[in-house]
């Protein structure tokens, strides 16, 4: 079962675990990315493409499902405005074998950052607004999977 969602609502990790867990798989690897509140960040805004963001996530999910032996895969990305501490992204990969679940999760979180149409804009407590620049390290990590 592959579940991909792009949503403005808060991501509920426990609910997603329940949905994902139907099968009683051997191993589940999970990644939760949250808004960091350092440097006086007040709000993070995630801009997305109305159609291509979802399509990009779905394409990545299918690449992962082809590459690793997974029994279930969930990929949820939040868009719009969110506060420090809130969940931006959730990856859940299950498999009979732990190495497959772990590798698929790491692949998805790495490639999410370079392959999917999403842009972060930060608003700080002092009123400053800045679009986030990609980091070189993100590309290096994403390219490990080529």
């Amino acid at each position: 079962m592959i579940r991909v969602a792009v949503q403005a609502d808060a991501i509920d990790v426990a609910v997603e675990l329940d949905i994902h867990d139907a099968g009683g798989h051997g191993a589940s690897a999970i990644f939760v990315g949250r808004v960091r509140g350092d440097d006086g960040l007040a709000e993070l805004f995630l801009e997305h493409h109305p159609a291509l963001t979802q399509a990009g996530l779905a394409a990545l999910a299918h690449v992962a499902a082809d590459r690793w032996s997974l029994s279930a895969l969930t990929l949820v990305h939040r868009v719009g405005g969110m506060a420090p501490g809130e969940t931006i992204v959730l990856v859940l990969a299950s498999s009979a074998h732990r190495a497959e679940a772990l590798a698929a999760t790491e692949f998805l979180i790495d490639r999410l950052k370079t392959d999917v149409m999403l842009w972060k804009r930060e608003t700080f407590a002092d009123g400053r607004v800045a679009w986030v620049e990609p980091r070189d390290g993100d590309h290096d990590r994403a390219e490990r999977w080529d």
Binding site: E47, A51, H77, L112, M117, L118
Partner: protein
Amino acid sequence: MALAVSYFAWVRERMGIADEVIDPPADVATVADLIGWLATRDERGALAFADPARIRAAIGGRMVGPEARLDGDVALFPPVTGG
């Protein structure tokens, strides 16, 4: 040839609009050509496309390089920063 173009993130902000239908000259054949033409078309284009190395593109829903031909709806945007 009419071409639907959409802009995202700071490219959208600098262009002042989210999407438009444009009619570039016939010698604008690739993404790189389009970016170059938009950069000279007006002041907001000059601002948005001053550094073509910082611009990414998708055509018909697929990420493409600067050499890609303009055979579908074009999206222009900065490098993505999701996850």
